[in-house]
């Protein structure tokens, strides 16, 4: 009986002192990544970035674990089960790229009720208890026209290449471009085609519409379509206008070659797959007790004339320009939103 009492007292003492230690430090916290899809270069780069940054964080003792899980069938019910498994595995935070903005809400709520921090990014969830790191696609479209207005103060005709019809991202970027064209009213969108975010589709579509177009001074895009557009315009024997690029390796390579040949200048912008690592550090900050607003916005990754060579050299062939975020980047994003 005496020994038992002593043991109990020891346990009580430890449990009293432990929480104070845990709040100040996340060294014993485990973070999991729930990812719904891994079938394209962007997602592959995202997983590689996560592995790298998560691995370093575990090594340096910032967190205890940073495990990545991907569902095999890209289905919401499957990912909901995956999240429930993570609750059982006792993770302290779940970083989530969701298959559906709403169909995971039940599982996310369950995780929140179990005291788990849920941070969604890219594919965000609407459940209010989760954090959201969203992409401002509209701003991405608007900034393209804004950039063109700095290069071409007199304005002119624009060709718009859209993405996959009926997808939310396509509508958003398109709305942003329209908004930009209204803001800088000396630009006029004279033609619009769907390039489906693929170079070959974009090339065919642009080649088809070109004969019916007047002279164009700029091409606004959604990424993954700039190289195809350039090829089509060149093949038609026209002067290549300013084509806004989307950070794909082939686009940057073409840009660098044209720059060396005739001083071609443009801008490239997209979302870095490393945004997953931003979500990782945001989750770490929340675990650390930082005051983080529920809605955050991802910064764009812009490639300019000055950073082109360095970015191109760092991007593997067939991939997308990437950047891994650090703890300081996450703190900057959080304080910008506060």
């Amino acid at each position: 009986m005496n020994t038992k009492a002593k043991l109990l007292a020891a346990v009580a003492l430890v449990s009293v002192t432990l929480p104070g230690f845990a709040v100040a430090d996340t060294a014993d916290k485990r973070i999991a990544l729930s990812n719904n899809y891994a079938g394209n270069s962007w997602r592959q780069a995202m997983l590689t970035s996560w592995e790298k940054v998560g691995g370093e964080a575990v090594e340096s003792g910032a967190v205890a674990a940073a495990d990545a899980f991907t569902t095999s069938e890209n289905q919401a019910t499957e990912q909901a089960a995956q999240i429930q498994n993570m609750i059982l595995q006792g993770y302290d935070a779940i970083v989530l790229n969701a298959a559906s903005p709403t169909a995971l809400n039940g599982a996310v709520k369950e995780a929140c009720d179990a005291g788990i921090i849920v941070v969604s990014f890219d594919g965000i969830v609407t459940e209010p208890c989760a954090w959201r790191i969203a992409v401002d696609f509209k701003e991405m479209g608007r900034q393209q026209v804004e950039y063109l207005s700095t290069r071409l103060p007199d304005g002119g005709n624009l060709l718009e290449i859209r993405g996959l019809a009926g997808v939310f991202v396509d509508d958003e970027i398109h709305a942003g471009i329209e908004q930009g064209a209204q803001e800088f009213s000396n630009f006029k969108i004279v033609g619009s085609v769907h390039g489906d975010w693929a170079q070959d589709v974009a090339q065919k579509a642009v080649a088809g519409i070109l004969p019916s177009l007047p002279e164009i001074v700029g091409v606004v895009t959604q990424g993954g379509d700039g190289y195809g557009a350039a090829q089509a315009i060149k093949a038609a024997g026209r002067d290549v206008p300013i084509i806004v690029m989307g950070n794909r390796q082939d686009e940057m390579k073409w840009w660098a070659e044209s720059r060396d040949a005739n001083g071609y200048e443009t801008l490239s912008l997209s979302i870095a797959p490393g945004v997953g690592t931003l979500a990782f550090w945001v989750a770490q900050q929340v675990l650390d007790g930082a005051d983080v607003p529920k809605d955050l916005t991802v910064p764009f990754l812009k490639v300019t004339q000055d950073t082109l060579d360095a970015t191109l050299a760092a991007t593997p062939e067939g991939s997308v320009a990437n950047v891994e975020y650090s703890l300081d980047d996450a703190k900057a994003v959080i304080s910008a939103a506060n």
Partner: protein
Amino acid sequence: MIGKYRILLPVLSLAVLLAAVFYLQPRAMSYFGLNLLFNLAVPIALATIAQMMIIMVNDIDLSIGTFVSFVACVTATFVNETPLLGAAILLASIMVYAAMGALIHARQLPAIVVTLGMSFVWAGLAVLLLPSPGGASPGWIRTLMTVKPPFVPMAVVACVLIAGFTHILIMRSATGTLLRAVGGNTQAVVRAGWSVIKLKAGAYALAGFFGVLSGMCLVGLTTSADANIALRYTLLSIAGVILGGGEFVGGKVSPVGAVIGALTLSLAGSFLSFMRLSPDWQIGAQGAILILVLAVRLIFARNGSRWKEAKNG
């Protein structure tokens, strides 16, 4: 694998898998843990029962996944906002299932083609209802799916209730016997003076009814719907029926086995996840578990018949 032994293998596979999960993740061995492991299996179990009704009459339903998605969309929109209209739509969809069964029998159409066609109809209707994910679960369904009964978690209680109810309906009642007979020997049923078209329509209506229950439960768990929410239920439900001791022909099915089969399949997913198996291998591994169980069943069946032959000869 005859008669009462049909249920042994599914029970055994579930027990083995459950033991493995508990070993890998002791935290699962609790009220809370069991509920998390199994609550998403409840709609799968209901979809499996729906599939079983169709397999029972020698047909197969390739549309159950999209049908459950459609029901989920109706539940998250109409049932939530205008319950009467919602109930009417769900009732009508059960009637469509019955009509489908009657049509398949009357025109002697292959069920695999008709249900494949219907799967596009249901998918289209679901997208029309919810072009982008959304809607909300009616409060009472949410309450029902998150209820915390004493001692045993909701998911387990629900599975026992589903298994018990369908067992009485299919294995014990007169109607159930007739329905199984349609799959076993249609000619005999016709000669005995029963209307096969009515029985088939009834089996399909039952499938529609359980499909509706599955969709409603799913929305109760996820809190909102998505036109693609349950696509994988088609294959899961077929695998569940077979895993649970059912056979594609001959009206040989087991409701209790089907529920256990559904539980085994969802548990296999968790097991592979706890094993930290790479997602590239997970589908393959799930398939391997399925083949393993079926192989064991085949060995039992062979040995069983050899033993019987020896006894008779």
